[in-house]
Assembly symmetry: C2
């Protein structure tokens, strides 16, 4: 048996950034933490050393850019919220029609949650003992209230937009969280579930 990779090792060593470019490692670390979130779906499973390993750097190098482990994770979570918010905002702005805009938001929400269930879980299924609320979540919820309000106004529907938005959010969260957590079961198609949601909540055109 020849060992063909004896000369060319499988892991090419990382090239260090040039002086002045060192801050790029900071972004690499945040990206790596995001990738680990996607893979593990549990923020507690993301160690400082695993992030460094993912980038190909020693654990000590992390301390050049972040105060400590929790600071790194906090920033990575904030970046995930920004991703999520951007996806939702783009979907919302994709149409002037309230119904199409709402529907696009729902699809973007579901797509984000099912494409990256781990990352979604980190954002929305936080630990019981977490204390602080993320501003990203509130901002995303604001987008939803706005979209629902436009539909209710269009319908001349007197329901409370906040309450209906909570209904939409709890339901859609339940759909993606259960489907994402138990992909082995044969759920109805997501599109059918979204149709069922907007019909039941009378948010159809």
């Amino acid at each position: 048996m020849a060992t063909p990779s004896a000369v060319t090792p499988t892991v090419t060593p990382r090239r260090r950034y040039a002086p002045g470019e060192g801050d790029r490692l900071r972004q690499d670390l945040l990206d790596a933490a995001g990738a680990l979130m996607v893979r593990h779906g549990d923020i507690d499973a993301i160690s400082l050393r695993s992030v460094a390993r993912e980038v190909g750097v020693s654990a000590t190098a992390v301390y050049r850019h972040f105060d400590d482990h929790v600071t790194l994770l906090r920033e990575a979570v904030d970046a995930s919220w920004a991703d999520f918010l951007a996806a939702l905002a783009a979907a919302k702005a994709s149409s002037d029609d309230p119904y199409e805009s709402f529907r696009a938001m729902g699809e973007a929400y579901v797509a984000f949650a099912l494409d990256r269930p781990g990352q979604y879980r980190v954002l929305f299924s936080n630990k019981v003992d977490v204390g602080v609320e993320s501003p990203g979540g509130l901002e995303a919820f604001g987008l939803l209230i706005d979209a629902v309000t436009r539909i209710l106004v269009d319908h001349g529907d007197g329901r409370d937009p906040f309450f209906v938005a909570v209904q939409v959010h709890t339901w859609i969260h339940g759909i993606v969280d259960l489907c994402g957590s138990h992909p082995g079961l044969d759920w109805p198609p997501v599109a059918a579930m979204l149709d069922g949601l907007s019909t039941a909540l009378r948010l159809d055109p």
Copy 2:
């Protein structure tokens, strides 16, 4: 300053079980694991040593009753499913009226989830990389399909009971998971959300 507890230590040492009674420690360990689930809401946070510590026993003692760490946790999760199932079944059987029975199930579901959010999370918000489906979950879902079917029949409603049961489950899961994960936000009252659910899904009398 006197130290009044110098003679009577705060932690009274555990009395060992008598010969022949040793199996009782097994139940104590499962109970302790359940208590830690309630507290942490994350099965990965429950170490073998923490369960032993909770009971007041050395880590080694666990091995007299369980093969290893994962066997202990698996049995503890199974016991939690049994708890949940029993609560749901009792609520279902509490009335012959399909609507009252359904409503009682909903309230029992919510009560379980909000009283013990950690335990609920362990059961329903499993990790992304978990492989096996629990039979307890399927059995509980069977109860729900049955309850929904009775209402649809009573209504002469032709909808697919499975689909409607999935709608109920996803929604109610979303409600308790979001409310449980973010208790700091001012959600509408749970009773109002349950009313909204049965109205929107036309499961009212």
